[in-house]
Subunit: 317 residues, 2 copies
């Protein structure tokens, strides 16, 4: 569905359950709660559901006052590229998603209708476009949600998913809502680290491994590592970008041990390697420069497989 | 002078020496070289002069092919808030600056004419506005200079000096010059660290001091520290923002020992403290959230004076 059709459909949607993806980030939370607020602005009802708890750092975006009849409400997903990413909610709602609003290049269709725009840097850009077509005014809370989603999915306008449209939406929000503390949001999202996180980064700097003349940098967070240093899991947020900050790195890989010998892999690339293609080899997916997969084996086995795949990608260039 | 007058004046300027401030950053380098390129586009001649060497990370902005007769050329400063900031070039040119283009709130007038806009997040925003009034086309090199200056002076659109206009200028540049590798520039400016820098940050995390329940965080880089760890001075760039990344910090202070018991102080604030006002007490200056001064004494004496001043500022709230 186009933006205008989606907006028309939403106007008829009296009750909605809005689903966001597991391990929720600023963009799915922002687009989910913005959409819920827009529906409420039209006199409809909406709730946001996520399989995982939402980190306290996003508490300023949440508004969970509304209720719906979940058995009859329309089900909408935002920023969900694949049913699997609904986590535990897939079993509950996966079969009855009526509308999926998404911006992932690799979107595996699962909803009856889809409003997809892979050119959008964030799902929040799409929700902004929809909001402009709805017969309601935007509010400060909605603008806060949309700005936060756009900022977090672009690394504060740093990544190459940013388009002139991305910047103009942010400019429009800033102009319409001058009282929102944008810099304060940015500081909380991008600049601030707990002392625990700073010390964690110290330790990761020590164990960082570098391959192919520094073009690939790997960090590995094992269960033993977490236990040894008493790391709060909340400190791990966004750590996937850590390896790529090393000068000269083209591919950054983070292994995170979920259960014994099962690793969640997060890959990032700086410039030319398609990490979504690499992760696809291991049944994962994502964006060209930010992707992930799940792998089994010892840390050494997993690292060997991953670096072999990275070596092939680097060789192509 | 207004933008239009400044543009008219520049059209008559056949030869120009463009001065930028000492310890040059992305904004003064970007605005200086953009202005030089604009003058050359009009068939005029311009050179950029700085008292200090320009770091290799900005090499992609430089274009030093032109020459002028420096004894008769017009002298223009960009992004220079005070004559003192011309460094060694003050003695050579300080008396004969004809035009100062600047965006600092605290600009101490020293030029015959001044094109000042404290609302601009970067001097590059002013040069962009001037460029729009000139009878020449922008080039990719000019756009690269302007984007880099705007991005670096706003922490990649993160700080509260960003206005809708800032974002729209970036959007316009991106639209007009889609081939510029914006994300690559951002990565080089904001995301990348050398291994030396990462190890330096490890050490600074260890020696970080915290005052007033964590509201003020101080790091101190003494000559002894630099010698002990064999730190390359180039690794220190932008380190002034390091203390403020600690969760809960409102004021971040970096002391850098220039010569024995002479410290360059860089202060940053997160939200409500006016660090320019604090630095002014020690004969320094800058922006509300980023300022500096020079102080003499032992590290302990200097830290005592600074934290006393910070305590008074925190108490006002």
């Amino acid at each position: 569905m186009k933006i205008a059709e989606t907006a028309a459909w939403l106007q008829t949607c009296e009750q909605a359950v809005i689903l966001i993806h597991q391990n929720p980030d600023g963009d799915c939370i922002g687009s989910g709660y913005a959409l819920a607020a827009l529906l409420r602005q039209m006199g409809n009802h909406a709730v946001v559901r996520c399989s995982d708890p939402i980190s306290a750092r996003y508490a300023f975006l949440l508004d969970d006052k509304d209720t719906v009849d979940e058995s009859t409400a329309a089900v909408i997903s935002v920023d969900v590229a694949d049913r699997k990413l609904l986590g535990d909610l897939d079993a509950v709602y996966g079969e009855r998603v009526q509308l999926a609003i998404d911006h992932h290049r690799i979107h595996r269709p699962f909803a009856a209708e889809c409003c997809l725009n892979p050119q959008a840097a964030a799902a929040c850009e799409i929700v902004y476009a929809i909001a402009k077509q709805l017969p309601v005014a935007m509010t400060e809370q909605i603008a806060t949600c949309l700005y936060t989603g756009i900022a977090t999915d672009t690394g504060c306008f740093q990544f190459d998913n940013v388009t002139p449209n991305t910047l103009r939406i942010a400019a429009d929000l800033m102009e319409q809502f001058p009282n929102i503390r944008y810099a304060k949001i940015n500081r909380a999202m991008f600049a601030v680290k707990s002392m625990g996180r700073l010390h964690l980064e110290q330790k990761l700097t020590d164990q960082m491994r570098s391959y192919f003349h520094g073009k690939c940098v790997v960090i590995c967070i094992t269960l033993a590592f977490l236990q040894t240093y008493g790391v709060d899991p909340a400190e791990l947020d966004g750590l996937a970008n850590f390896p790529l900050q090393v000068e000269g790195a083209e591919v950054g890989i983070m292994l995170k041990e979920k259960t014994a010998n099962v690793f969640k892999i997060s890959m990032r690339s700086a410039d030319y390697v398609d990490v979504a293609a690499i992760c696809k080899q291991f049944d994962g997916g994502g964006h060209i420069k930010a992707a992930g997969c799940l792998m089994e084996g010892t840390a050494e086995e997993v690292i060997q497989k991953l670096t072999d795949a990275v070596e092939r990608s680097l060789a192509v260039r």
